[in-house]
Structures are given as structure tokens and as C-alpha cells.
Amino acid sequence: MGHAYGRMKKMSDMAAFSFRVEDMATLEDSFLADLDDLSDNEAELDESDGDDAKKDEEDIDMDMADLETLNYDDLDSVSKLQKSQRYLDIMQKVEEALGKESDGTEKGTVLEDDPEYKLIVDCNQLSVDIENEIAIVHNFIRDKYRLKFQELESLVNHPIDYARVVKKIGNETDLTLVDLEGLLPSAIIMVVSVTALTTKGSPLPEDVLHKTLEACDRALDLDSARKKVLDFVESKMGSIAPNLSAIVGSAVAAKLMGTAGGLSALAKMPACNVQVLGHKRKNLAGFSSATSQLRVGYLEQTEIFQSTPPALKSRAGRILAAKSTLAARVDATRGDPSGTNGKALREEIRKKIEKWQEPPPARQPKPLPVPDSEPKKRRGGRRLRKMKERYAVTDMRKLANRMAFGTPEESSLGDGLGEGYGMLGQAGSNRLRISSVPSKLKINPTIAKKLKERNYAGGATTSGLTSSLAFTPVQGIELCNPQQALGLGSGTQSTYFSESGTFSKLKKI
């Protein structure tokens, strides 16, 4: 019996995996254990009606096709915790301890020997177990209630809320008769009522309904038991983990310890895990998830976190997690029973948050730089080279600048007047091949237009109205235009139909 319960516990771990951040080691162990258990399945649990119960919990994570195998009937086959001896023992001790005053000073040098500490450790473990148990019961309720109202499970995520809602609704089809005030936020109530109108479920048969309600009661009982246990732990927190409770407060410290599964377990966790312990998956109901990205769990409820301005909340969460992890480590080794370390850490956190909120120092006008101390930054590169090309000295100009020795230079107006031609046009200076690289020189736009026009007269794509014929009164039609040779162009070639012509008169309206 006890042996079977032991196995039950590991499987319940695995079942609850999808709901909570858990220690990876137990998952591996539970996989290994399950491999053993599969063969021993029927031999062990023959008192349960639904002998598919064990397998069901293994498959819980996903086989929707096996829907019929998940119809186990008996709640007790699913959730055994409340009947177990361990549970009853611990609950009894907690009731006792809550009743009487604590004796305080009786602490052993080693934390682990203290009987109260043992109780706390057991309580922590129990609270984790209760959570897992609640998850299992939640699954049970969900599977039964799915026939009635399938969408409810995705609208109400939290197991206890779900149980309360199911209890309230019962077998009712018309949700206007059901008052969900106080159980859920009003937005969710609205969505639930609307979805209930279009749900394709049907009311449950009487016995199924009875079982479901029983399961709901069981879940709520478990929840209240867990609360009791956590309250007890919280009241003892000051003596168990003084440094941690100095930083985050005893309620949050108890919750953290409870979820982690003990003080040493909490101490072994890295700070990033401590930060998200207890993080609830919120139901978005169509709202964007881009706004509330805060990754904080129970630490959200600490006084320090609540009092920081929203802009600094993510940084505050991180520093809280880091320092509380340090404090938990101090407490796990019982390094500082008085809690001064915790107080110092709390002070440090407070100072840091204050510093973040300081306005930046006022800008002083910069003094002028020392004259001539900074050399001019000359730029180089492709862009500058391309720009310089436009004003570069061309080969023609270079030739014109050069002069031959002993020979007088030719000039534009002759006799030394006008511009000198230099080596330009001298015999022997012409190149055999003329490379046609398009000149990158900067040209005056009006001159550029004239050049373009001249080129068009001999180009392949001339307009249909230009002609290389010349109509003269004396010779009639000429094939080549003599005026063109002179460079004057045909008098009949009007600029009206010119390719490169523009509007001659532009007036702004």
C-alpha cells in the first residue's frame, strides 16, 4: 500500500509537469519509474475500478484520441493523498503547532536537527504534493465536465477557480441564472456567459455530476489545507529563514519555500528560477501579450516590488531575486541566525532602486576647444574621388599646358594672342586609338543641351520630323546639308520639333 503510494507520488509529479516549473531530476526519475510500473500495473492496483487509471495519468499530457480510456469513474482511484497517513499526520501536527505558542529559543546548532525545522520541511514537501494533487483533481474535473462545457477549461486556467466555477454552474444550461460574481474578474464572466450560449456540450447525467461536484469539493479542501500549511510555515518563517524574510517578507518567503520544496532546494536554485517561482499563466482573452512582459512570480507581492515605479519594475524584480537567493543560501547554512545579513541586503536593494530614480546630472556647457589643437579631418574614399573627377585636369588641358622647347606655340588668335595650344594638335602627338570614355567633367547645362542636340542630328533614334535633306530654292533637294558642315545647321530645322527642346515660355499660374 505504501509502496503503491510512493509510485503514485512520482506519477503525480509527471502529471503536474505541464502546470508548473519543476525540478528536472524528478521528471527523469519518474520516466524511469514509469517504465518499471507499466508492467506491474494491474498487479498492484486491483482495488481500483478504472484499471486504466495509472496509464491515464501517464498519457495525460496528451493523447486526445484515447478519450474513452480517460473515463475513470472513481475519484479515490485518482487522488489518494487525502486518505494517506502522511498527510493526516502532518496536518495534525500543523493544527497543534498553530494552536500553541512557539518556544523559540530551543534551536539546535544544526538546522536539520531541529524538530520544528523538520516539520517545516515536511510541510513544504506536503504543500508541493497538495499542489500536484490539486492538479490531478483538476484534470479529473475537467475531463468529466468537458462533455458539458468544453471551452471553460481554456477560459479559466487556475485549478481552484475552475473548481469553484464548476461547482457554481453545476448542471445549469442557462448561465444567466448563475451568479459568478466574486469568483472571476468581470471580463472573464462575460466571456464565459457568451461562450456558454454557443457551447456544444450537453448536461451531464446525475451520477457523473455527483462525482464531479465531489471532486470539486475535494479540490477546495486540498486548497484550504494548503493554505493552512502555508500559514503555519509563514508564522515560523522568522525563526527558520530570518534573512530571507527580512528581504521579501514572511508570507512571500513561505510561498517561495513551499513552491521550491524546502529551504535547501530554494538555496540551490539559480536566481533566475527564483524570480519566476509562482508565475501564473494569465488568461489573455484576446488582449495583447506585448504589454505585460514582467517575469515575476511570488516576488511580485513583496513590498519592495509594489513600491517601485512601473518603469523600474523589471530591474527591481531581478535584483530582488538575486539578493533573496543570496539570503536563502545564508539561511540554508544557518550562517546568520539574527537576520542582519538580510537587513543589510534589503538596505542595499533600497539604495540601488533610489539611485535608479535619480535625475541625470545637469549638462554643463562645454568649454571651447583649444585653437588649432584638432587637425582638420580630411575625408577620402570613393565618393570624394568621384567628385574630384568632375573638376580634374583632362589630358587635353595637360597637353595644352605643356610646351615644346624651341618651337613657338600656336594660339587661338594667332601671333601669340589668345589662348595658347601648347602640345595640342602637334604632329606626332595624336594617338592612334581614341578611347571613348565618357567624360566626367562638369559641363554647363545650357552647353550640355546644345551638345546633345548636335549629337541627335546624326543619331539612330532621331525624331521623325528631323531630316538630313535640305530643301533649297536653287538646287532643290540636297542629300547633304552644306550648312551642317559649317556647323550652322539647317535653317529649316526648327527648334519647335526639337527632341531636346523645352517650353519656350513658362508662366506661373
Partner: protein
């Protein structure tokens, strides 16, 4: 706006010390008294631009009514107040602003920028090794005064 008051010097040792200790920076010494209106205007401009030129100049005020300072007053032949004398590395810098007296600047500056320009020109000239520099200001911005020679 930070306005640390410019140091006012009253003793000969202080003046000596500041002249010798200002290295690679122009030293601007204003000789004047605080009761004079022109002096106050000049002081205002000096204070405002002291931070801006702080990388290449130091500004100090000398109170001309103190008796230890009269040595310098006679040495530099200061008769009109306020007068500003420029030094660089303990060497007296001269400024040709079109007036008769090149050894000092007499009167106030029209604007903060004028003062900064003058100091910059002095700095550049001094770094090149010149002893006298030409004033960059247009003549209308330069206060005119009459040099009295033996009360003539």
C-alpha cells in the same frame, strides 16, 4: 548656470604666482576697481566667457586700489580703468588694435564673442612664437581713448 567668481588678486605675490604658474594658457589680468561701471560691464563679460575659454586661457581680476599692486600699475603704465593685460607663459603679449597703446587693452568689450576672439588670436600668435598679434575686431568695436602725455 555655474558662475564661480573670478579670483581677485590684491597682493604682489599672488600676481607673481599666477603669472608663473599659468603654463601654456593665456593669462588675462584685468586691472580695475569694482566701483567703476565700465569695469563691472567688462567683469560680467569676463565671467561669462571664463568657462568657455578655460581650456586655453585663465582669467583673473586685480584690484587696483590695493597698494602692493601699484608696482604693477606703474610698470604697465595703467592710467585708465579698466585695463586688461595679456600674458602667455610669463611673457607679456602685445595686441595691435589700432590704438596708440599696444601693451594693453583699455576699456570694455562689446560682446562675449569679441573677447573670445581676442583671446584666441593671442593664443594662436603665442603658440607660433609671436610677441605681438593683430586684433581681429573691426574698429568700431574697439574702445577709443586719448593718451595723455604729461597732461597735454
Amino acid at each position: 548656470m555655474e558662475s564661480v567668481l573670478l579670483p581677485t588678486l590684491t597682493k604682489k605675490e599672488e600676481i607673481d604666482r599666477i603669472i608663473n604658474n599659468t603654463i601654456d594658457k593665456v593669462l588675462v589680468l584685468r586691472f580695475g576697481r569694482t566701483s567703476d561701471e565700465n569695469c563691472l560691464l567688462l567683469d560680467d563679460i569676463l565671467e561669462k566667457s571664463a568657462r568657455d575659454v578655460s581650456k586655453f586661457a585663465t582669467v583673473a581680476l586685480v584690484d587696483v586700489d590695493s597698494d602692493q599692486v601699484q608696482v604693477y600699475v606703474n610698470y604697465f603704465d595703467i592710467t585708465l580703468f579698466p585695463s586688461t593685460v595679456f600674458f602667455f607663459n610669463a611673457h607679456h603679449m602685445k595686441l595691435d588694435s589700432g590704438t596708440a597703446d599696444h601693451t594693453k587693452w583699455v576699456g570694455k568689450f562689446h560682446e562675449k564673442q569679441d573677447f573670445i576672439d581676442v583671446v584666441e588670436v593671442i593664443f594662436r600668435g603665442a603658440m607660433k612664437g609671436k610677441m605681438i598679434v593683430h586684433c581681429p575686431l573691426p574698429p568700431e568695436r574697439i574702445p577709443k581713448f586719448q593718451l595723455l602725455y604729461k597732461d597735454v
